[in-house]
């Protein structure tokens, strides 16, 4: 090897397109290179098996078995002491459980807030920054920074931000002559929107993914349109945006999974309160686990996992994911 491994410029299909300054050709969605790979020799078969073993064991013990257990025990009354199968009872209870519906509604509100805030803001920021406006690198870093910080730390930030005594929000409001005494996170009227508004801070993921997709659009397409006299807005409107269908679908899947799994922030900011106004399904499952009502917690877990999988299937359909436009 003459070059150092760190600088090897092997044509990794998707990843390098993200940061590469020049738009490379659009890579195939899924590699169909199986035909070019050699079949493993009997001697290497053992090597392959041993090589796959550690990952497969971890995957089995911490993903596969828990998944099966969650589904099976959601049909039971299970706690630290004993397990009795009650079949569909947990699910029938869920249907008439007001707290479950409150949690579902709140989760849906968070999802809607995340979609309505993150997708437009993320796409707009990506479209602007992809034009390489002055300072785009710095702005990209700045917009993305909240995404690398933990939800737990961000929650502590918001708790101070919204604090009625010394938080900057109330300071600003009273400085402008408004009422600056509201306890945003513990007021039944404002808790849900106050928590939902924090989704703005994680629009950076959408921005990064959309930027990578824009950079993968061949420059020739823009050239020929420009020759025909198209304005910059027309280029964006008629070429860029329609080509973002795939990546917006992917972003929606990520937002969906992120919302369903969202736990840390609400747990720390409000604990689901006041009066369950910010309770999410994930938090409700955790509460039921803490109450030693494991079967019921798992039924909520199944709802979460099923909602994620169904949502992904639906989004793949609607956004025709996997089909390329180019």
């Amino acid at each position: 090897m003459t070059s150092t491994p760190a600088t090897v410029t092997a044509p990794a299909p998707r990843p390098t397109t993200a940061a590469a300054p020049n738009p490379p050709s659009v890579p195939p969605r899924r590699e169909r290179r199986t035909g070019r790979l050699e079949s493993a020799q009997p001697g290497t078969r053992l090597g392959i098996a041993l090589s796959l073993l550690p990952g497969a064991v971890l995957f089995t013990v911490f993903y596969l078995v828990p998944l099966v257990v969650v589904v099976v025990t959601s049909l039971s009354d299970w706690g630290p002491i004993e397990l009795t199968f009650t079949w569909t009872q947990n699910y029938r209870l869920l249907l008439t459980d007001d707290i479950f519906w409150t949690a579902s509604r709140n989760t849906a509100v968070f999802l809607a807030a995340a979609v309505l805030i993150q997708v437009p803001v993320g796409v707009a920021a990506a479209v602007i920054l992809a034009r390489r406006v002055r300072g785009w690198r710095l702005l990209r870093t700045l917009f993305f920074l909240p995404n690398v910080v933990s939800y737990a730390a961000l929650a502590l930030v918001y708790v101070t931000f919204y604090n009625p005594r010394y938080g900057p929000l109330n300071q600003l409001l009273s400085g402008l002559g408004f009422d600056g005494s509201r306890d945003w996170l513990f007021d039944v009227d404002t808790a849900l929107p106050a928590v939902a508004a924090t989704w703005l801070f994680t629009a950076g993921v959408v921005m990064i993914l959309v930027m990578a997709e824009i950079e993968a659009i061949p420059a020739e397409i823009y050239e020929s349109a420009r020759v025909d006299g198209a304005s910059r807005w027309q280029l964006t409107r008629h070429i860029t945006l329609p080509l973002l269908r795939n990546v917006v679908g992917v972003c929606l899947i990520l937002v969906l999974l992120g919302t369903l799994a969202y736990f840390d922030g609400v747990y720390i900011m409000t604990g689901g309160g006041p009066a369950d106004r910010t309770l999410t399904l994930s938090l409700y499952a955790f509460q039921e686990y803490s109450n030693s009502d494991w079967g019921y917690a798992n039924a909520i877990g199944v709802v979460l996992i099923a909602a994620g999988l169904l949502g992904i299937l639906l989004l793949r359909r609607v956004f025709r994911l996997g089909e390329r436009d180019l």
Binding site: L37, A40, I48, F59, I128, A212, L257, I268, N298
Partner: protein, 274 residues
């Protein structure tokens, strides 16, 4: 002309609003961590006056953050190592060789990324307890390795399948075994994939809250995310210490990102493409 000016105004206005919104709450915490508690409560000056490190002193004396930080660092470093090694070992054959169940294994490991793991808390707790891994540092390292194995696998697999198919040919003609191919041919070339996966997994484990809360009830095994948020609820806690702690907790992934930005962005795009 007017339209152009308006467009530019709109663009920069938008960027300014988003930038300020991203910066203000975090910036306020960082700035306030250098104030005294009295200054914070008096709602006075924006900037610390006088500038003080009281919060940071309290962080290490009252809250004794060092132990929590040490735990988080251990989990993040060892968990990342575990996820990287298992991920590479599984990614190499599935990316570059043909064998039975190759595709189904790949699909299975990849689908794990679509599971909201919060739905699995009960069985994860029970399994960890029955394996004797509950409330132990080793247990958390094992668990984090497993939890982030799929992401590490996916990112490294994307990278390895992008390397030219002829790489192993010469070595194979010389009769190299599987282990030799992996160690002598692939490992030296796999560093970019390892780096990308490593940065993302490290940041994710550093930031974990839920599973640390679930699997480590005793404070000597808790990381900094859980430790700090539990102190938030104690009324006698010095608010400046919490602000200083939040600043420290945020600093590590922020620095990691700023230094290794390319890896983070690459990994994000690779992980999402699946």
């Amino acid at each position: 002309m007017a339209a152009r000016v308006l467009g530019a105004l709109g663009r920069w206005g938008f960027l300014a609003v988003v930038g300020v919104a991203c910066l203000v709450p975090v910036g306020w915490v960082v700035v306030s961590s250098f104030k005294t508690q009295a200054q914070i409560f008096s709602r006075g000056d924006l900037l610390p006056n006088p500038f003080t490190l009281e919060g940071y002193v309290a962080l290490f004396t009252e809250i004794e953050i060092a132990g929590y930080l040490g735990n988080t660092l251990l989990y993040a470093v060892a968990g990342t190592a575990g996820a990287l090694v298992t991920g590479l070992l599984a990614a190499y054959p599935t990316a570059r060789m043909r064998f039975p169940f190759r595709h189904s294994l790949t699909v299975m490991f990849t689908i794990a990324l679509a599971i909201p793991v919060v739905g699995l808390i009960v069985p994860v707790f029970v399994i960890m307890r029955d394996l004797g891994l509950f409330d132990s540092r080793l247990g958390l390292v094992v668990f984090y390795s497993a939890m982030w194995f799929p992401l590490s696998f996916v990112i490294q697999r994307v990278y390895l399948s992008g390397l030219p198919p002829s790489l192993e040919e010469a070595a194979r003609l010389d009769g190299a075994s599987y282990g030799q191919l992996l160690r002598l041919v692939i490992l030296p070339l796999s560093r970019p994939g390892l780096a990308t996966a490593g940065v993302l997994v490290f940041i994710n484990i550093w930031n974990d809250f839920l599973f640390n809360l679930l699997l480590a009830p005793s404070s000597e095994h808790q990381g900094v995310q859980v430790g700090l948020s539990l102190f938030k609820n104690q009324f006698n806690t010095d608010i400046t210490a919490i602000l200083a702690g939040t600043t420290v907790v945020m600093a590590i992934p922020v620095l990691t990102f700023v230094i290794l930005q390319r890896q983070v962005i690459t990994g994000l795009t690779a992980g999402a493409a699946r």
